[in-house]
């Protein structure tokens, strides 16, 4: 017989009430773990996306910087267009290591996604695009046969989604154009996976945007030149320059308010759970007043009683905590879906990233929760006087 056994067996009484309390703790912990997991996953995903852009700067047409930052990560351009001349002017700058022009267009397909409608993202590129993304490898096929041909290279997921392989045709709805698939990229874990690439010149023709670009990706020889380079481009009319650092900051700003709200929800959930646990244990202490009096009469010290009640409370919190962690772990798919719908931009890859450190920290948090929630009921129980307790309610 140990305090632990006594405490544990006590939990088998009033089962429904204890299960509900444990459920409350589980939900609070699940929210907390998901939130921190999301925080870690989002930052990681964002950094990964930014690194895999391959360029340091993106030149786009002037517009909302939020929109530009978002669209940049989604495929390298805004829906506004800039003149190709800009590209011709800056390409000569000696500080540039590589530079690539892009023209992005989205096409709505009414029959897509099994009749629910879907948006396909097309991007006109030149061979320099591959140069900026050395990790992009062909899973099958290869580069376009010419600069102005009706051919397409598909991102890994785009090909999966449309069930296409080399030699298959794809039809651009609304425009009535048919392209032949000549290459399929391997999975990169970035937004590129979902894009259909076509030669830049063809894109300008197909989408009727002659001489237009949505963005220019630039990689500098020396990353320290970014600020100066940006400044020099300031005089070019009708464009804006977005650097990676800016994008990171802008995107994080975008999610930070959502995150602050989620954190307060999590804190409130924890707070309510702690109150719930305190209430449950306090009720059970009062119900067991006579039993506690008996234990004291039979030699239990105040510390013995305190310990039993404290262990009981901590057990409730820790069991709830483990359930909550499991819930967060196995429910992270669902949370991801919800977040993806709610956020203006979500990086590719896993959004909710639950590491063992996070689980360990959550475990500690539940222990602390238990100790905090249990202190008052344990104190009440330990201060009961044996006779008064035994005679109460007689």
């Amino acid at each position: 017989m140990k305090s632990f056994n006594i405490a544990f067996k006590n939990l088998t009484r009033k089962r429904i009430r204890n299960i509900l309390t444990i459920g409350g703790v589980a939900i609070a912990v699940a929210v907390l773990v998901s939130l921190f997991g999301f925080d870690a996953g989002y930052q990681k995903g964002l950094n990964n996306d930014i690194d895999k852009l391959g360029y340091h700067l993106l030149v786009t047409a002037k517009g909302c910087p939020y929109e530009a930052a978002t669209l940049m990560l989604q495929g390298g351009g805004g829906l506004r267009y800039m003149e190709e001349d800009v590209y011709r002017r800056i390409i000569k700058d000696p500080r540039i290591d590589s530079i690539t022009p892009q023209l992005v267009s989205s096409v709505y397909n009414q029959e897509g996604a099994g009749g629910r409608g879907s948006i396909a993202l097309y991007m006109g590129i030149e061979k320099s695009y591959i140069g900026l993304k050395p990790w992009s490898k062909f899973k099958s096929g290869g580069w376009f046969s010419g600069n102005d041909v009706d051919e397409a290279i598909m991102g890994y997921e785009a090909a999966e989604l449309e069930q296409r392989s080399i030699g298959d045709k794809i039809f651009i709805p609304g425009i009535g154009k048919v392209l032949t698939v000549v290459g399929i990229f391997e999975r990169t874990g970035t937004q590129d996976d979902g894009i259909i690439f076509i030669p830049l010149a063809s894109a300008q023709k197909i989408f009727n945007l002659p001489g237009k670009l949505t963005g220019i990706g630039i990689k500098l020889k020396d990353i320290h030149d970014i600020a100066k380079f940006e400044e020099d481009l300031y005089n070019e009319p009708g464009i804006q320059v977005i650097s990676l650092a800016q994008v990171r900051g802008t995107i994080l700003n975008l999610v930070s308010s959502a995150r602050a709200m989620a954190s307060s929800v999590a804190l409130i959930a924890i707070f309510i759970a702690v109150i719930g646990v305190t209430n449950t244990i306090l009720m059970s202490v009062f119900e067991r007043t006579r039993e506690i009096g008996m234990m004291k009469a039979l030699g239990a010290s105040a510390a013995d009683i305190f310990k039993i009640i404290w262990i009981e409370t901590t057990l409730i919190c820790v069991i709830g905590g483990f359930l909550g962690m499991a819930l967060a772990f196995f429910g992270s798919h669902i949370v991801e879906q919800i977040i993806r719908h709610a956020l203006p931009y979500a990086p590719a890859g896993k959004l909710v990233f639950i590491r063992s450190q996070l689980l360990f920290a959550s475990f500690l948090a539940t222990v602390i929760m238990g100790l905090v929630a249990g202190t008052y009921p344990a104190l009440r129980a330990s201060l009961m006087k044996p006779i008064e307790a035994i005679r109460s309610g007689e």
Partner: protein, 227 residues
């Protein structure tokens, strides 16, 4: 000369209520010797429970002297009383007060844990056999009868090998047959040397003790000693 376990001089316990003071027991002079089997009898409200609680160091006394095992505890506080009680005095209550989530055996072993004594399972089983419950050790309290519950409570009280067993109306919730069983056990334990003080208002049972003390209005009005 028999060892004197408890001695009281003018022991008085007053309950102070907002409106009045209740002198529940007053001026009790009593000596309890090792090997005694005492029953305290008297009408309801005569102070039996209060006297027993005072003797058992479960409560502080208002005035007079209380000497337990040679030690004056008249002015002891709660925590000092705990240490006097522990390993020396044990209790049986009218309504058993078993822990429903623990088995019979676990209930019996509970006081060992609080007294920091070795958890001797075999001895606990032996005690349960002695009270006739060797076949019930793994049952839960709700699976046994009232008489059996009280026998578990007695076994639990015996676990720490006390010198003194105090039982407040131990048969109050039991039918005559079961009540008689309990007194049989008390007699047997007393013959083995255990000192027992029991309150009851059932004369048939009370008269089976070797000393019978009558209380009225908190005072001892007579005592029958076997000659």
């Amino acid at each position: 000369m028999k060892e004197c376990l408890i001695k009281t001089e003018k022991l008085t316990k007053i309950y102070k209520l907002p409106a009045e003071q209740i002198r529940a027991v007053r001026d009790i002079d009593l000596e309890i010797f090792a090997g005694d089997f005492i029953s305290i009898m008297g009408p309801s409200g005569s102070g039996k429970t209060t006297l027993l609680d005072s003797l058992g160091c479960l409560t502080t006394i208002t005035s007079g002297r209380l000497i337990v095992s040679g030690k004056d505890v008249s002015h002891a506080n709660e925590s000092e009383l705990v240490s006097v009680r522990r390993k020396f005095i044990s209790f049986v209550f009218q309504d058993f007060l078993l822990i429903p989530s623990l088995t019979v055996l676990e209930n019996v072993m509970l006081p060992l844990y609080f007294a920091r004594l070795p958890q001797d399972r075999n001895r606990a089983v032996e005690i349960l056999e002695k009270v006739g419950l060797g076949h019930r050790i793994n049952h839960l309290p709700k699976q046994i009868s009232g008489g059996e519950k009280q026998r578990v409570a007695i076994a639990r009280a015996l676990a720490i090998s006390p010198k003194l067993l105090l039982a407040d109306e131990p048969t109050g919730n039991l039918d005559t047959k079961y009540a008689q069983e309990i007194f049989h056990i008390f007699k047997k334990l007393n013959q083995e040397g255990l000192t027992i003080v029991v309150t009851t208002h059932n004369p048939n049972l009370g008269s089976q003790a070797s000393r019978i003390i009558y209380l009225q209005d908190g005072k001892i009005i007579s005592e029958n000693k076997p000659n």
